[in-house]
């Protein structure tokens, strides 16, 4: 990986537009209410019918947070009232009971991920009970390679809490940092020390967690190159196996908490790009590989190895080594990806509770992918995960003529090729070192829904 390429202002202006992050294709705004419980049950049933059904990946959403981080675009509920969790858990247990029987018991859960919100809003007893219910209704894989991960907020958990998670089966931990710069922490309402963070990571390593990961965000208010450089040094000293550096998505119309952020404090597009460049530079120097988009991993990490082997996948948690799982999302607003469908649970507690109280699955919207969606999703995944698309193999896989099928998209892509973001040969598409900073733009060339949309600006964040 080269160090960050120079981007001239004209180029930055051309590419500073809004677009999806492609954790799914089609992106979530394409989901519609026509995809209902009956459809979800049908796709779940069909997913059992392959000669070798896909293993399962389960995502559990804990929506509560004790304190509002102003940058947050996740679906969460701010509360200090710990009494909210038993009410939520009662419904979550009900959802597990209703959902698990849709999947044949010989389909083992190879991946489990707790996200939020703040999963450590739940106390140790609640966590143990939840894991027990999951293990009772699903068949947990006994494979040592299974990945059971949890996101932790170090401000609200101690070493003892972390140590109690290992016997429950968790072996990966992901810790939010965002930025250690005190000015930035004040501007986003998240005060968190290096020591707090280290305590959680150390406790995880001591108790046998296989992998640690931290999240950073660039593009936050008050962020500077000097301040972020210090944060990166501190992160490198913490020695996590993986680092995710997300681009801050400022969408105050959609996310109320973001209205606390003054637009004037936000770094401009050129600075954002330099922040990403700095991140790539520092982390690669420290021995991390730039996997793509927002993800870095140590060269010996499974993620880096999966990329080398060509088995890397993109999913709602970013990148994953476990391709070919059906993803079951449990909890308020959770997204499922079963077969060639996406579906999402109710976005608010009243509707999530009402559905389950009536004995219904709480799915509120979704999408059954068309054949065209499946083809385009594959092209986007190849480019975002492997940085390369082999044209002959793609044509054979989908029974199509690449040049003809992607005629319009390739015309856009040739413009990107002129800016040295991608290399187009008759045999393959290659993402260049420079293009890895602009993967979303490359993916957008293959997005048929974007072209049809009236105003993507309202729904998607800035690409740079």
């Amino acid at each position: 990986m080269q160090t960050h390429a120079a981007f001239d202002p004209g180029l930055i202006a051309r590419y500073d537009v809004n677009g999806p992050r492609y954790t799914s294709y089609p992106a979530a705004p394409q989901f519609h209410a026509g995809f209902d419980e009956a459809q979800l049950r049908a796709v779940a049933h069909a997913s059992n019918e392959d000669p070798i059904p896909r293993p399962l990946s389960v995502y559990v959403h804990v929506p509560f947070c004790l304190s509002p981080c102003f940058y947050c675009g996740c679906t969460r509920i701010i509360t200090r009232d710990r009494n909210k969790s038993p009410i939520y858990l009662q419904r979550l247990h009900r959802e597990i009971e209703l959902t698990a029987p849709l999947f044949d018991r010989d389909r083992s859960v190879q991946q489990l991920h707790f996200g939020g919100g703040t999963p450590n809003f739940l106390d140790r007893a609640q966590m143990a009970e939840l894991l027990e219910t999951l293990a009772q209704h699903f068949s947990f894989s006994r494979d040592a390679q299974r990945e059971f991960g949890i996101e932790l907020d170090p401000r609200f958990c101690d070493a003892e809490y972390v140590r109690a998670l290992a016997p429950l089966g968790f072996n990966r931990v992901s810790v939010g940092i965002q930025d250690f710069d005190p000015d930035v922490q004040a501007a986003v309402n998240r005060i968190q020390s290096v020591a707090q963070t280290r305590a959680v990571l150390d406790a995880a390593r001591e108790s046998g967690f296989r992998s640690t990961s931290v999240d950073l965000i660039y593009g936050l208010p008050k962020q500077s190159l000097a301040g972020f450089a210090r944060t990166l040094d501190e992160v490198i000293a913490l020695a996590p196996d993986r680092v995710a550096a997300y681009a801050y998505a400022h969408l105050p119309q959609r996310f109320k908490a973001q209205r606390q952020i003054h637009a004037a404090d936000l770094p401009d597009a050129a600075t954002r790009l330099r922040l990403l460049g700095l991140t790539v530079e520092k982390l690669t120097e420290a021995g991390y590989r730039y996997i793509g988009m927002d993800h870095f991993a140590r060269a010996d990490d499974e993620l880096a190895r999966a990329q080398e082997a060509g088995t890397l996948q993109r999913n709602f948690q970013g990148y994953s080594t476990h391709g070919g799982c059906d993803l079951i999302g449990l909890g308020m607003s959770a997204i499922s990806h079963i077969g060639t469908s996406y579906s999402q649970n109710a976005h608010d507690l009243p509707r999530y509770y009402a559905a389950l109280d009536a004995g219904r699955l709480p799915v509120m919207r979704g999408l059954a992918l068309s054949e065209d969606d499946v083809i385009r999703a594959d092209a986007i995944a190849q480019l975002m995960c492997q940085g390369r698309l082999d044209i002959a193999a793609f044509e054979a896989r989908h029974g199509l003529d690449f040049q003809l099928y992607f005629d319009a998209g390739l015309r856009h892509l040739r413009k990107l090729a002129r800016d040295d973001l991608v290399e187009i040969t008759p045999q393959a598409l290659h993402v260049t070192a420079r293009g890895r900073y602009l993967l979303r733009h490359i993916a957008m060339c293959f997005d048929a829904h974007l072209a049809r949309e009236a105003a993507p600006a309202v729904r998607y964040s800035r690409v740079l």
């Binding site: 392959d50 000669p51 070798i52 059904p53 044949d104 010989d106 029974g399 199509l400 690449f402």
Partner: protein, 249 residues
């Protein structure tokens, strides 16, 4: 090629016939033509072969106990035949590919003994049985062809009722399908397992998880490659060795 760059349907379809020509897989085309009967001549004799469909997944082509009036040949897609007993237990009798006949076991006692259900989008040819009988009486080759089909149909049933291991059953099942696709001019080593695994399991008298476990092992051993429903036979010789007790013929 389609205008958008897609090639024609990836699944086998025997739809190369029309009002004047037999489909290449037609069970009767090869005997009618030498007898001087092309499709026009059959039409003139009011022996029109009707093209019926599409049927969609789960649609019945005929139902158990319905009055027998016609034989069907699959033109495209896959058809499952099955019986359901008084307690509601299903027994899958077979899977029928393009070019294969269904309904042969209904001639006596003039009602269908099973359900025929489309497993995907299915097109069939309908042969009116009274008309076919008349034709058979006139043309000895048609009669002989009908006897051949009936005989082959009897031999096929209950192949898996014997005492065989799961490995033997699955190897035989895959090779049998491959052979039938090959016999009709389709790719023989790579095909789509259209039928749900529950149906495969039922047909082979195995548990669904056993079907998957054995296929996964076959894949680990490099005998087959499975991608979703797409299946490729990689080491046919090894499968043949395994299946030799079932596929004796």
């Amino acid at each position: 090629m389609l205008p958008d760059g897609r090639l024609i349907a990836p699944h086998p379809i025997a739809d190369d016939g029309d009002e004047l020509h037999f489909c290449s897989t037609c069970a009767f085309g090869s005997v009618c033509l030498p007898a001087g009967l092309n499709k026009t001549a059959l039409n003139d004799l009011h022996l029109l072969v009707e093209h019926v469909g599409p049927f969609h997944t789960g649609d019945h082509i005929f139902r158990s106990d319905e009055r027998f009036a016609a034989l069907f040949a699959v033109r495209a897609g896959m058809v499952k035949t099955r019986q359901v007993d008084d307690e509601g237990h299903e027994q899958v009798l077979g899977f029928h590919l393009p070019g294969e006949m269904i309904g042969l076991d209904a001639i006596h006692p003039a009602k269908y003994p099973c359900d025929a259900i489309a497993l995907d989008t299915v097109y069939v040819c309908r042969f009116s049985f009274p008309a076919l009988s008349t034709l058979a009486a006139k043309i000895p080759d048609v009669q002989q062809r009908l006897f051949d089909l009936l005989s082959a149909d009897i031999g096929k049933s209950n192949r898996f009722s014997g005492d065989h291991t799961a490995d033997e059953r699955l190897a035989a099942f895959l090779l049998d399908l491959a052979g039938r696709y090959a016999a009709r001019g389709f790719a023989a080593n790579a095909f789509r397992l259209v039928m749900p695994r529950a149906d495969i399991a039922n047909y082979l008298r195995l548990a669904a998880e056993t079907v998957s476990r054995v296929l996964r092992r076959f894949q680990d051993q490099g005998l087959i490659h499975v991608d979703g429903r797409e299946l490729e036979l990689v080491d046919k010789a090894a499968l043949q060795k395994m299946a030799r007790h079932i596929l004796r013929d």
